[in-house]
């Protein structure tokens, strides 16, 4: 029997071949997350597409007042209908799309703000540090709901209100983490080496700090999407966020609980989806943290 070189090499070493990055997803203990993730991501993408293609909006917007509060699997609606006879499955998918868009928007805004202010504070002199610290402290002390109420009063409740209110209260935490990390990064030899070679501060910030912050940032971003989705649901539930007829998980909870004695499924389904998405995102964040951080260092949440 002939063997290929790798087979020979593997023989007798007693080492198990390391599974490839992709195959890890299909190991039994990861499978449940993989399947859940694929479903949630697919639904989320579909939901986002629904928002972007106007001609598809009828799928979740069409009302049928003759068929309200249909139970799941009854008439042609897999998950039944709501108080206006709209299809619940499509409502959930579209709502998830909106929630994800808001979550991603909040996260991107927070990361950009946090990176900028954090690096400015840690690397651009004492004055910049003092100023940015004050800004971070003051912003951090501001509750999201109060800000949302103010914004809703000023510009009216909308998706923009939600994104702004959440982003403006989320970024200070990340700015703190960035500042701390950069304070340690800037003392590293490769930063000194770049400085003695005359590389400008701005280039060092972008090419060395931002890149070296990526592992932490990616993990934090996933948590931020999860918390932003909960925040969005909360604000929309209070009527400060997404307005009907635009669907959102928080809005469905809010409307559904008014009819809880007639039909429980809109509330339970939207609540369950919210919980599952957040659970999945948190587990995914943990998974990433394990994969991305070779030192097992736990980033502060």
């Amino acid at each position: 029997m002939t063997m290929t070189a790798p087979q020979i090499a593997a023989q007798g070493t007693g080492l198990k071949a390391r599974p490839s990055r992709f195959l890890i997803l299909f190991q039994p203990h990861n499978l449940v997350w993989t399947i859940g993730g694929v479903i949630i991501i697919a639904a989320g993408i579909l939901g986002i597409v629904l928002q972007l293609v106007p001609s598809w909006r009828h799928l979740y917007l069409t009302q049928d007042l003759t068929a309200t509060f249909q139970a799941p699997l009854s008439t042609g609606h897999v998950l039944g209908t709501d108080n206006l006879g709209r299809d619940l499955l499509w409502q959930l998918i579209a709502g998830l799309g909106i929630s994800l868009m808001i979550g991603i928007g909040v996260t991107v805004l927070s990361l950009v703000l946090g990176l900028t202010v954090g690096i400015l504070g840690a690397y651009f002199g004492r004055t910049a540090d003092a100023v940015s610290n004050v800004i971070v402290d003051v912003t951090w002390a501001f509750p999201a709901i109060l800000l949302a109420v103010l914004l809703a009063g000023a510009i009216g409740p909308s998706v923009t209100t939600v994104v702004l209110a959440l982003a403006l209260t989320t970024w200070p935490g990340y700015a703190r983490i960035v500042r701390g990390e950069v304070l340690s990064l800037r003392e590293r030899d490769f930063v000194n080496a770049a400085r003695v070679l005359g590389v400008p501060k701005l280039v060092i910030s972008v090419r060395h700090f931002v890149v070296n912050l990526m592992p932490i940032t990616i993990v934090i971003a996933v948590y931020y999407v999860a918390t932003a989705i909960i925040g969005e649901a909360g604000l929309s539930f209070l009527g400060l966020g997404v307005q009907a007829p635009m669907p959102s998980l928080g809005l469905m909870l809010s409307v559904g609980q008014q009819y809880l004695n007639v039909s429980w499924w809109p509330v339970v389904l939207s609540g369950a989806l919210l919980a599952l998405v957040v659970l999945f995102l948190n587990a995914f964040g943990d998974f990433l943290r394990g994969r991305l951080d070779p030192h097992g260092r736990v980033p502060r949440r």
Partner: protein, 341 residues
């Protein structure tokens, strides 16, 4: 406080100074740590001139102020430390008076530096090609593709095989010697006039060391570049440098031609250093200098080496010694004398 040290500059022997205008000149350079009320002196009155194309070794124990001196030349002293006296001249022009922006333009361009540990000197998250291109583009307004061509050429020049492919490698994929070659390539991007090498081979194994030393010597000749080679490895410095300056407790105690210094070391400290470094016959014990280097702030008012010196005399303790001339320039009231050969 300063008293006798002020005389040092005037008493430097002309024999130890190169004839042409120096590429780099440290003039009476002092560095201190600013404390609440006082200053802690770390480096005092360092005078050193490095001629064009000359390699000068800067030797001394850890904590003698070698690296601080180099960082001061780059204008990159750690926060809390400051140059409290003297100046650094590059080609006759003062460096320390420069605005931060003007200084940055010179770094990597006219004066460059490489560090001890090439692994930590390279960003682990960036490809080595990107790190060299970054330096090129920080100084020259060239297109990305031109910068890339330049970078490949440089890597090729410092002896990285298959340079074009290796541009996309990350630092961890390189061996220590290769990494130091990359650092040298980055430092030499703009053919600087002066290269400060802060123990560049300490983290490397001996065979790799030889390769790096040879490379620096070649490049120095090729580019007419001046090199300050900081090290505590006397054997290596004697091999590489034209002249050697020995530092002890924040000051230069002896400057001499490298061929002379190791045969006829006049300062007792230099002699101790040379003796502790040389290879002994089998069975003979290592020689070493008893005691340890005086911490800054606890320096004696007299000769700073006096507490450890076996030739110590009464006058060593009272007054701080000036430089004395002879075959070498030495800061000692009782230097070792040699019979004329």
């Amino acid at each position: 406080m300063r008293g006798p040290e002020l005389l040092v500059k005037a008493s430097v022997s002309p024999a130890a100074v190169p004839a042409s205008r120096p590429a780099l000149a440290l003039l009476d350079l002092s560095i201190s740590q600013r404390l609440r009320r006082t200053e802690k002196r770390l480096v005092t009155h360092v005078d050193l001139e490095v001629g064009q194309g000359e390699i000068v070794g800067l030797v001394g124990e850890s904590g003698s102020g070698k690296s601080l001196t180099a960082l001061a030349c780059m204008g990159l002293l750690p926060s809390g430390l400051a140059v409290t006296g003297g100046d650094v001249h590059l080609d006759g022009a003062s460096l320390l008076g420069l605005a931060p922006k003007a200084f940055r333009a010179l770094r990597g361009n006219a004066i460059s530096m490489i560090f001890q540990d090439p692994l930590s000197s390279l960003d682990p998250c960036a490809r080595i090609g990107a790190q060299i291109i970054e330096t090129i583009r920080a100084h020259k307004d060239v297109s990305a593709s031109q910068a890339k061509r330049d970078a490949i050429e440089l890597l090729d020049r410092v002896g990285i095989p298959r340079a074009a492919q290796r541009m996309r490698a990350y630092p961890h994929e390189f061996s220590g010697g290769m990494r130091q070659r990359v650092m040298i390539a980055a430092a030499l991007v703009l053919k600087p006039r002066v290269l400060l090498a802060d123990e560049p081979t300490t983290a490397l194994d001996v065979t790799t060391q030889a390769g790096i030393v040879e490379l620096v010597r070649e490049l120095c000749r090729e580019l007419q570049m001046s090199v300050v080679w900081i090290s505590h490895d006397l054997a290596l410095v004697s091999e590489l440098a034209d002249r050697v300056a020995v530092m002890y407790a924040g000051e230069i105690v002896e400057v001499a031609d490298s061929k002379v210094l190791f045969r006829v070391s006049r300062h007792p400290y230099t002699k101790g250093l040379v003796a502790s470094g040389s290879i002994r016959p089998y069975g003979e014990r290592f020689s070493y200098i008893p005691g340890s280097i005086a911490e800054p702030g606890t320096w004696p008012t007299g000769c700073r080496f006096a507490p450890r010196c076996e030739r110590v005399r009464e006058e060593c303790v009272g007054e701080h010694p000036d430089f004395r001339s002879g075959t070498t320039t030495v800061r000692c009231v009782n230097p070792i004398e040699y019979e004329a050969e």
